[in-house]
């Protein structure tokens, strides 16, 4: 987990706050602090046990293939093993404000903790930012206060081909954005579209001609002319409303108009068709 800003200042504030708070009944003690640099096979390249407040004698080198392992026990001042609310190992890169805090997980039991840098975390945080890092334990327990224990310096070796990390904040103009708009759809030739429009209209001409040849007529409209004309006129108004909706009118006004037309259309249809039945019988 990466902490924003300087871990040192934050940890110092936490330590002072815990000392000054009335709730802290003691303080956290770190014992059996062991710093190891191991091969993946388990062979130890470097190992040193530290007693608070001693620091590392040398600057061990750490690579992705030789991870850093830190183990420690947390106790109260009464030498009782203590479960911590916060157990982090902080790495601050020398000469910069960059810092990384990695979680130390509970190991053998309550009060025993271990932190090791996985290959994934090494690639993520250190490969592109090699250099000397100052390592510290940042421990805290709600009822027992906190501890900030600087362990010493460790050299993180970068990986070949890793790109150097750019600063987190870069002030200045951002790169120009080049929008990529989708290619317009390929449309057919205008003449082809016109031909097919004509072909789609042709069946209508054939239909009207066929009806005329069959002798289809509107003679029975005379049974109830007024009602029939009003009914068909209102149905035609619905069709016009549908076209108007397609062209521009929004949905809810269209529904309002359709609702307004519904009752007159129903009444006109009921009247016209029932009168037609009466007169036809």
């Amino acid at each position: 987990m990466r902490l924003l800003g300087s871990t040192w200042a934050l940890a110092g504030v936490c330590a002072v706050a815990s000392l000054l708070s009335g709730a802290a009944s003691g303080s956290v003690v770190a014992k059996n602090v062991v710093v190891k640099v191991m091969e993946r096979t388990g062979d130890k390249l470097f190992e040193q046990t530290l007693k608070y407040p001693a620091m590392l004698d040398t600057v061990p080198k750490v690579k992705a293939t030789t991870p850093l392992v830190i183990t420690f026990d947390s106790l109260t001042t009464n030498d009782t093993l203590l479960s911590l609310d916060q157990a982090m190992v902080s790495f601050q890169r020398a000469g910069t404000e960059d810092d990384v805090a990695l979680l130390a997980r509970s190991a053998k039991g309550a009060g025993s903790y271990k932190m090791d840098i996985s290959r994934k975390n090494y690639r993520r945080y250190f490969s592109s930012a090699p250099g000397i890092y100052s390592v510290a334990l940042v421990l805290g327990a709600a009822d027992h206060g906190g501890l900030f224990y600087e362990l010493g310096n460790i050299e993180m070796v970068g990986s070949k081909g890793a790109k150097p990390k750019t600063p987190a904040v870069v002030y200045g103009p951002k790169p120009e954005i080049h929008h990529r708009f989708s290619e317009p759809q390929k449309m057919p030739n205008v003449f082809l579209s016109l031909i097919f429009t004509g072909l789609a209209v042709a069946p209508l001409v054939v239909l009207v001609g066929g009806w005329a040849q069959m002798g289809v007529n509107l003679n029975k409209l005379q049974l109830e002319p007024v009602g029939s004309v009003v009914f068909m006129g209102l149905v035609a108004t619905y069709m016009v409303l549908a076209i108007a909706y397609w062209v521009g009118i929004k949905l809810f006004p269209t529904l309002a108009y359709a609702l307004a037309l519904a009752l007159p259309t129903y009444l006109a249809g009921q009247y016209a068709l029932s009168k037609r039945i009466e007169k036809d019988i």
């Binding site: 789609a200 069946p203 209508l204 002798g215 069709m239 549908a242 909706y245």
Partner: protein, 108 residues
């Protein structure tokens, strides 16, 4: 024209009432329009797809409504459906109004 086809046409024209022949012509019109739209899609492609669905769906739905109207107004089905064609026509009109609002919405 083959004799069988001529006989079928003569029988159809002689036995089928004018109203049903008018509805049949309308159904043939709807089918023709649907076929033309399908042919256009086969030649050019489906873009814009919503417009094709609206047009083809409209023609197909009109065909179905006309088929229902034909069934209801056929004198041979009078016992099953009862009543006269005016009620069926009213339903036909209502279905068309609803269909055309859906089509107008889908046309885009």
């Amino acid at each position: 024209m083959p004799a069988s086809v001529a006989a079928i046409l003569a029988d159809y024209t002689g036995r089928t009432p004018l109203r049903l022949r008018a509805i049949d012509a309308y159904m043939a019109f709807c089918a023709g329009v649907a076929v033309v739209q399908l042919a256009y899609c086969a030649v050019v492609g489906t873009f814009p797809y919503n417009a094709f669905l609206a047009g083809f769906g409209s023609a197909a739905a009109c065909f179905v409504f006309a088929a229902a109207l034909r069934m209801r107004t056929d004198p041979r089905n009078a016992q099953q459906f009862g009543g006269r064609g005016e009620g069926a026509f009213a339903e036909f009109v209502v279905c068309h109004v609803a269909l055309h609002f859906v089509v107008a919405n889908f046309l885009g």
